[in-house]
């Protein structure tokens, strides 16, 4: 291998997709690949497209290197690694013209496409050079392609080596075996393959000091550093890994070194009703409590969400959104629960909703969520999604949260009550709609109150009085509306265009790229507002008013945020244009660009 036919190199700007089956153990290989590119200083992102199944069904892992720092999915596939007989033909077909294919010899894909560069390798045979155990051979075949790609794409072998060491931590035997497989692949490529494609990786300096983490890990860390004390959960993809990582971090960092005792409790509940029930019980009793779930669990949490809202009990719920309705596509991404979360439960309810776009925001919002839940004494939903939560992202190092002190909100201590003499649980003293609360164990005889999800008055006494009810409902509304200025504010990029883009959550990753495309390809300058939470405030309203056309980009079918915007800002409702992507696959910049251009032309 050596010569590149034409000198037209594509440097640090392409993606690699590995097509395999789940259960084949390719995840480590893919992580090593991604990490090696990362270590070369090149912005990189990885996305795992996997089935709702344990073993044997098609899985695709895509790594995108982007010198421009684009981290969204790219629709075209530049470089395909085909290992799965079930999908081999389609996989080969899905490579963009001019792209490349590395296929297992056994798939017989040789010559299947003339418009792409094709490579073949006998993965199993090469792995057999490393081990005689047939099961391990299957595993090591994955490392073989890492080696081959390393050579074909000019990845620094030392970085691969470091990547393998990092991946398998201290297990030296394992490291050694894997490295041997990598080298075998590398050697095979050097000896037998002739570089025919244009893709190449060159060291940059864009990842120094950065970390790789998934959103669920970041949220877990946020909870650990945010003073979370009670975590309840019920397993559900894609939220499971949030709590599983949280347990690990808690065990490492939240055991009191003095006593060896846990400063947290994690309980696997019997279902989501109980999970939120425990959170509400714990929140009422003074814990910073949270649970994590996905769509079906959210639905089951409806009734308790209403109780938390109405009885004003702090609670935090992470919803790692997947594709609904119903069981839907459990391993695909979506932003389909926004509307549900915003008004979850019967009756008139409104909840504070935080929507992180990045892993860093997962870390930060996980902490803010507790502060907001306690400040506003209500339930707070953090809306992540499978793409953000389960995929690996390069991020700035997380800063120690000196600027996010653990804030318990309006809690009256025994001494406070001593001074005040009396206490009314639901009395709005400050006019901000937020009453004061006490925590069981307070000790002062005036501190206790008996609360409920039924009608009650300011003293928390049972009441069916229409006046007490109406006053309560309006106060609650004032309280939640008032939170609009305390939640993470929208992030705005405004350059005076008349075209605005509105997006939120993981969709953000495609927006920057899309705006660049619009500018470069179509000369269309756009402004951008990224919503980071609900309720919305005047900032959003004025953005809408400043733009003749506002494209609301969402990963759901019904334009859920557009619906909320229209209802909140009816005067601007006719300036909203939905751009909706609902396939379960993360949205890409090309799609948004095309949609906006199409809609602009229909102007």
């Amino acid at each position: 291998m050596d010569a590149n036919p034409d000198g037209d190199l594509i440097v640090n700007d392409f993606n690699i997709q590995i097509a395999t089956v789940n259960g084949s153990g390719s995840q480590s290989a893919n992580m090593v690949l991604m990490r090696s590119i990362f270590q070369m200083g090149i912005p990189v992102s990885g996305k795992n497209l996997f089935p709702s199944n344990i073993a044997g069904l098609p899985t695709w892992f895509t790594i995108r290197a982007s010198k421009d720092g684009y981290t969204a999915r790219k629709a075209e596939i530049d470089f395909m690694v085909a290992l799965n007989p079930q999908t081999a033909r389609q996989d080969a077909a899905s490579v963009r013209p001019g792209g490349a294919l590395l296929a297992d010899e056994a798939l017989g894909l040789k010559g299947v496409r003339s418009d792409i560069s094709c490579y073949e390798a006998p993965f199993m045979k090469l792995a057999a050079e490393v081990t005689s155990d047939s099961r391990i051979r299957k595993l090591l075949a994955n490392m073989v392609y890492v080696g081959i790609l390393g050579r074909l794409l000019s990845i620094d072998p030392r970085e691969i080596e470091k990547g393998v060491e990092k991946q398998f931590r201290s297990k030296s035997k394992v490291v050694e075996l894997n490295l041997r497989a990598v080298k075998t692949g590398y050697g095979y490529a050097s000896d037998r393959l002739v570089k025919a494609d244009n893709f190449v990786l060159r060291p940059m300096d864009k990842t120094r000091g950065k970390i790789i983490i998934d959103g669920n890990g970041a949220a877990a860390l946020g909870a650990v550093f945010g003073g979370c004390t009670v975590v309840t959960w019920y397993p559900i993809t894609p939220s499971t890994s949030l709590v599983e990582q949280l347990i690990d971090y808690m065990r490492s960092y939240r055991i009191d070194p003095a006593t060896g005792k846990a400063t947290f409790a994690v309980v696997q509940a019997e279902d989501e009703l109980a999970a939120l029930g425990m959170v509400v019980g714990a929140g009422w009793a003074g814990a910073r409590a949270m649970t994590s779930t996905s769509g079906p669990g959210l639905s089951l949490m409806s009734e308790f969400a209403g109780l938390a809202y109405f009885a004003e009990i702090p609670a935090v719920v992470w919803d790692i959104q997947r594709v609904g309705p119903s069981t839907g596509l459990p391993t695909r991404t979506s932003q389909g629960d926004i509307l549900s979360a915003w008004c979850l439960s019967h009756g008139d309810t409104r909840h504070i909703v935080l929507i992180p776009s990045t892993v860093e925001e997962c870390f930060i919002f996980a902490q803010e969520a507790f502060n907001l839940a306690e400040k506003y004494q209500t339930i707070v939903f953090c809306m992540s999604d499978l793409d953000l939560g389960m995929n690996n992202w390069v991020s700035n190092e997380f800063k120690y949260p000196d600027d996010i002190p653990i804030d318990r909100g309006k809690v009256l201590s025994r001494e406070d009550i001593e001074k005040l003499q009396k206490f009314s649980r639901y009395l709005d003293i400050d006019g901000d709609g937020i009453p004061f609360r006490t925590i069981p164990g307070n000790g002062h005889p005036a501190a206790p109150y008996f609360t409920r999800g039924s009608g009650h008055d300011i003293a928390a006494e049972y009441s069916e009085s229409p006046e007490a009810y109406t006053a309560l409902m309006h106060r609650l509304n004032r309280k939640i509306t008032g939170a609009a200025d305390s939640i993470p504010q929208p992030v705005i990029c405004e350059r005076g265009s008349s075209v605005g883009i509105i997006a939120y959550g993981s969709t953000d990753h495609a927006i920057g790229e899309c705006r660049d495309k619009l500018r470069r390809m179509y000369g269309l300058e756009t402004d951008y507002i990224r919503i980071r939470g609900l309720p919305l405030n005047g900032t959003v309203a004025s953005f809408l008013h400043h733009h003749d056309r506002n494209y609301v980009v969402e990963q759901n079918r019904d334009g859920q945020m557009r619906m909320i915007l229209a209802a909140e800002f009816p005067e601007a409702a006719d300036r909203l244009y939905p751009v909706l992507h609902c396939t379960g696959i993360p949205i890409d910049a090309g799609f948004i660009t095309n949609e906006i251009i199409r809609l602009q032309r229909h102007e």
């Binding site: 950065k210 650990v224 009670v230 714990a282 003074g286 814990a287 206790p448 409920r452």
Partner: protein, 340 residues
């Protein structure tokens, strides 16, 4: 009487709550009195108690005792989960949960089972009247097979015996009593106060308004004329509380307000409540003869507590100081290094 102080210097009065809004004669009110007395006699500090309940007439009662304690009246069937959460937040509080038979054995069955399995430290009182009182008298899952409502509807399904369930699920303190037996009930609640895991007490508590336990054929008849009138829609007659006192090892037939009869059978003093198979045998035997076996049916103090198994710190998590609630700067640095 009201002047008597308990060993922490409080009066019986200090354990009372708001006035009850239940029907006159409702068994639940009798239970409330017994809870008040038990907590008073045991000398529990009300400031250390949390009261929890679901939804139903029974679930209203925590408002009627211990007004100096914190209380959370939650959702129908969900007392166990809020109780679990509350105990995790503050393991130092004494938790008492009140539920109904509908609240527990119908909608709440899942949470009931899992609370028992976890052995969450709390007193769980099921005020059992065989009906949904608050929604006006439909059968609950503890209604006896063949029981009849005043409307003439017959229950075709077998009753769920929550004591059997609790024992099978490993609950370490399982008792059954009758709302109108103050002595026994006070003793059982006090026993529960001394128990470290879940203490379950199934208390038969006649719903004077809707439950006609043994079917109208056996019930005491008013004059035909008055009877018809008294079945007037929306009319709830007034009844006095029933109160019984009978020695251990004996049976007692109680005539309920509607004239139906309940046979209570109190376990003898020599009964060994640590013998699980024997407990189950005796309960089943009584069920077959249609008697209600009362007393401490089963006890096992050796079961590991839920909070212990979590290796929880002693101080309540609810008041965890910020410095313990947030790992150090160093810790974050270490984690960041691993992620690089």
């Amino acid at each position: 009487m009201s002047e008597t102080l308990n060993h922490i210097g409080l009066r019986l009065q200090d354990y009372k709550g708001k006035d009850s809004t239940l029907c006159a004669g409702c068994g639940h009110d009798a239970i409330t009195s017994q809870i008040i007395r038990a907590f008073f006699e045991y000398g529990v500090d009300p400031a250390r108690v949390i009261k929890l309940s679901g939804i139903g007439c029974s679930s209203k009662t925590p408002a009627y005792f211990l007004s100096r304690s914190f209380g959370l009246n939650a959702l129908h069937g969900r007392m166990p989960s809020i109780g679990t959460g509350a105990v995790l937040a503050n393991r130092r509080m004494i938790a008492i949960g009140v539920s109904g038979d509908g609240d527990t054995a119908s909608i709440g069955m899942g949470q009931f089972v899992h609370l028992m399995r976890r052995n969450v430290p709390m007193i769980y009182i099921m005020e059992n009247n065989g009906v949904y009182g608050l929604t006006k008298g439909q059968f609950s899952a503890t209604a006896e097979e063949g029981a009849k409502l005043k409307t003439g509807v017959t229950n075709e399904l077998p009753a769920i015996d929550c004591c059997i369930m609790a024992i099978e699920l490993g609950c370490g303190y399982v008792a059954r009593s009758f709302a109108g037996d103050p002595k026994q009930l006070v003793a059982l609640v006090k026993g529960a106060l001394g128990h470290r895991g879940t203490a379950f007490i199934d208390v038969l508590s006649p719903c004077v308004t809707f439950n006609n336990h043994e079917g109208s054929t056996k019930s005491y008849k008013y004059l035909k004329e008055s009877e018809e009138l008294l079945h007037e829609i929306g009319f709830i007659p007034y009844y006095e509380q029933i109160s019984v006192d009978y020695p251990a090892g004996s049976a007692k037939v109680v005539e309920l307000h509607d004239g139906s009869r309940l046979t209570l059978n109190k376990l003898e003093k020599e009964y060994d409540p640590t013998n699980q198979p024997e407990a189950l045998r005796r309960i089943r035997e009584a069920n077959v003869t249609g008697e209600v076996l009362t007393g401490l049916l089963y006890i096992d103090t050796s079961k590991p507590g839920f909070v212990e198994s979590l290796n929880l710190q002693d101080e309540p998590l609810a008041i965890l100081p910020a410095e313990k609630a947030r790992p150090s700067r160093e810790a974050l640095r270490e984690i960041m290094e691993q992620l690089k």
